[in-house]
């Protein structure tokens, strides 16, 4: 087999530091080396043109280019090979610039090392097999899981680009968490108002026909792979036909049932048929079958009797499972709060008047349990509020990280307390204060200017909340050791943001891993934070990391961008040729490869026990090939034979 070698002198970069004539002499002694030609600047336009023409003339079977790092121009040179009619994988580069010429001052030594590295490349390239790009058809539809701001913007963007989107929301209401907040930091924009235009577009806009909105729905299964997923979606019945319902709400008051209202975190009650809260979209009540008297065998029809529309309430509705094809899945499943019951010293759940920040958001909301009055539900207006920042944060035994948004919403709380209850005291108990961003400092400064606001820094674990006559006592220890205490009517805890409670189940269904905090793991923290480790599954918003609305929405759009470029119209999906392949005759079915694969790319062959690599999911790392005890896995372009030949030759 003939190998042609090109020695790039890279101007003086290589040419003056390696003795090319000695190198040529040595290399031409290698069996099969047809020629070893020095070239000026092989990477330049002229150099590449020369290479293409020279390959066409001399027709070597394999090519070695000894030049700079393959990380620089390998792809470009592979394209030249292709243009010259060769398989691009018939190239091997030897890095004699970064890893020889530039780091070896002695010309003799540099020449010897270059010779060894090039010999390694020659022996390796002889064993290169031709690899071919293959393409498959891909489905362009997308399943978006979660209808918070990030999910809505993602779905809308995709729909505007002409994609069919299935928007899967587990609750009966769209908008995620911010739709429950009266106002948002940093500029007190109303939460529902912020989302209304987007919701309007999703539900009734010019592209709404492209979005299938499924409320009360959850993913129940996912089969297939990037470009060809099959999603199973379980939708619970609403018992109210959204097409028929006029949203008048007449059905709600007659309902005799009273149940804890989960939309206000149990701070008040709702009927069995209810709207989550006034203004919730879609403006269609839902019937909660678990609490409805009918589920206990009673023949109650009070809601249906009150409904002015024929057949809008249907007790016979049943759960259904929908099957939807999709090329990609975007997970926008939202967040949870660190369970404050694991911080018993903070009194949550045991001391009356202690609330989480989400509960307090609802107390502030005009459509919340107190109608927006700043008081305990059923109590008198508060005269003082203590806000405990960093609850469960910045501590390894709870959550070591800073969630980054709590200070901002705490200053928002400060703003509203000052506005709604002039004269009320506010205490900020904090471990650290952060308010990054170009607008956020204003709220912080306002809180600092509030003459009735106090700032107290506490030591790790240095806050203790206990019940007191007519209020709550907060004892604290400052970092320097001094202790103090204060009383307040209400205590608001700002817990660390965590992954959503059902993230683990969703992760199992998707095969997309969580990180150690229960957030969906990203492919790369900075460059690819909206991609999961699994191709075709994207993650956006606070299910990936604690973040504010701005960043969540940006990530939702980013996920849409990945989908639109990866599954571009008129483009097939390319299967990368550098992937692992299983020799079924040698595979014992031990599954070691599947266990080590970080991408869950290895399944079982349909015919039997042998492993089978999903070429579209494989990233080509070769970890499975190294782990296989039977040597049954070939890592294309990095095969055992190729690497062993290289090792032998560099040592010869």
């Amino acid at each position: 087999m003939s190998v042609g070698i090109y020695l790039c002198n890279c101007g003086t970069n290589i040419g003056e530091r390696i003795d090319f004539s000695r190198l040529q002499e040595e290399l031409l002694r290698q069996p099969g080396v047809a020629y070893a030609t020095p070239v000026d600047f092989l990477c330049a336009q002229d150099g590449r043109r020369f290479l293409e023409a020279d390959l066409g003339q001399r027709r070597p079977e394999r090519v070695v280019i000894a030049a700079c790092s393959p990380r620089e121009y390998e792809r470009a040179f592979m394209q030249v090979l292709e243009r010259a009619g060769m398989n691009p994988c018939f190239l091997q580069m030897a890095n004699i610039r970064e890893q020889v010429a530039w780091v070896t001052p002695d010309v003799d030594q540099a020449t010897g090392k270059a010779c060894a590295q090039i010999r390694g490349a020659v022996e390796r390239v002889r064993l290169h097999s031709p690899l071919f790009r293959t393409e498959i058809e891909a489905c362009r539809d997308v399943v978006v899981i979660g209808a918070g701001p990030a999910g809505l913007k993602c779905a809308l963007t995709l729909a505007e680009a002409g994609r069919k989107v299935v928007l899967v929301e587990k609750s009966p209401v769209l908008g995620g968490m911010p739709v429950r907040y009266e106002d948002l930091f940093p500029n007190m924009e109303c939460g529902p108002c912020l989302l209304e235009p987007v919701l309007g577009e999703v539900l009734h806009g010019p592209h709404s026909a492209n979005i299938e909105v499924l409320t009360l729905a959850e993913l129940s299964g996912l089969k297939g792979y990037y470009g060809n997923f099959q999603a199973s979606i379980r939708q619970m019945p609403r018992y109210v036909d959204a097409e028929q319902c006029i949203g008048c709400g007449e059905c709600v008051p007659p309902c005799p049932v009273s149940a804890p209202n989960e939309f206000n975190f149990g701070l008040d009650t709702r009927h069995a048929i209810a709207l989550p809260f006034p203004g919730a979209l879609p403006n269609v009540p839902f019937l909660d079958a678990r609490t409805c008297l009918r589920s206990q065998g009673e023949e109650c029809t009070l809601c249906r009797d009150a409904c002015p529309v024929e057949d809008a309430i249907r007790y016979t509705d049943a759960a259904r499972t929908l099957e939807r094809p999709a090329g990609a899945v975007v997970v926008v499943a939202g967040f949870g709060l660190y369970d404050c019951r694991s911080l018993p010293e903070l009194g949550y759940g045991t001391v009356p008047g202690v609330y989480t920040s989400l509960e307090f958001e609802r107390i502030l909301a005009s459509n919340g349990p107190t109608g927006g009055e700043l008081k305990r539900p059923g109590g008198a207006p508060a005269g003082s509020v203590a806000i405990v920042h960093c609850a469960g944060s910045l501590e390894e035994r709870h959550r070591p990280y800073c969630s980054g948004i709590c200070c901002n919403y705490a200053f928002k709380f400060d703003h509203w307390i000052e506005k709604k209850l002039p004269g009320a005291r506010v205490y900020h108990l904090y471990r650290e204060l952060v308010a990054p961003g170009k607008e956020e400092f204003a709220l912080y400064e306002e809180a600092r200017r509030n003459p009735r606001a106090g700032f107290i820094r506490y030591a790790p674990g240095g806050v203790r909340v206990t019940g007191a006559e007519g209020g709550v006592t907060v004892e604290y220890q400052e970092p320097a050791g001094n202790r103090g205490s204060l009383t307040a009517d209400m205590v608001v805890l700002c817990p660390a943001l965590t992954g959503a409670a059902d993230a683990a189940d969703l992760s199992r269904l998707l095969g997309a891993p969580l990180d150690r905090f229960g957030f969906f793991a990203e492919l790369h923290g900075r460059m690819d934070s909206a991609q999961s480790a699994i191709k075709g599954i994207y993650v956006a918003g606070a299910c990936q990391a604690p973040m504010d609305i701005q960043m969540a929405v940006s990530q939702g759009m980013s996920a849409a961008g990945y989908v639109l470029s990866g599954l571009a119209d008129g483009k097939k999906l390319e299967i990368p040729p550098i992937a692992a392949v299983v020799d079924e005759t040698r595979c014992s079915g031990c599954r070691t490869c599947a266990w080590v694969c970080p991408y869950q790319a290895i399944g079982q062959s349909p015919e039997g026990r042998a492993a089978s690599v999903g070429a579209l999911l494989c990233h080509g790392c070769g970890t499975c090939a190294a782990a296989c005890p039977s040597g049954a896995i070939r890592a294309n372009h990095f095969t055992n034979e190729q690497i062993l030949a290289e090792i032998e030759a560099v040592l010869a």
Binding site: E26, S69, P70, R71, N95, R97, E98, Q99, V100, W102, V103, T104, P105, D106, D108, Q109, A110, T111, G112, K113, C115, A116, Q117, G120, A521, A533, I578, V596, P598, Y599, H619, G620, C621, G622, T623, A625, A626, A627, A635, F638, N640, I643, L644, E646, I647, E648, V650, L651, A652
Partner: protein, 153 residues
Amino acid sequence: MNQTQTQPAAPSPAGPFEPKIVGFLCNWCSYAGADKAGAAQMSYPPNIRIVRAMCSGRVDAQFVMQAFRDGADGVLILACHGGDCHYQEGNYRATARHRLLLRLLRQLGIDEARCRFDYVSAGEGEKFVRVVNETVEAVRALGPLNGHGRRTM
């Protein structure tokens, strides 16, 4: 040819023993770290022969054994730092495999210092140079791998 090419793996009266080291570098971090050292023109001993793998997780134990059999006096496996692996966790697999490899080498009478595992990121040109220097010196101090070790493979 220069010494490292032609000299048998035994001390030469012409100078100190020049060990042959094979370095397995992952494409994304360590190989880039070596390139970085090059771009900064930091010099280091020419004793190392670099073999690129896409991931340190690809470095099969038999590659290491083959390197020793083919004349290497030392082997260096370099990976991305924990949490930085381009392939999520190949570097953790490589770490685990290296631990096993050391046990095997011990049984063969090969000093552990001949098979070093370390982490070099794409930005750590200086660390790459330091690790190569240390490895070359450590293996030089051990002398050529001959006798029992090489024969058993």
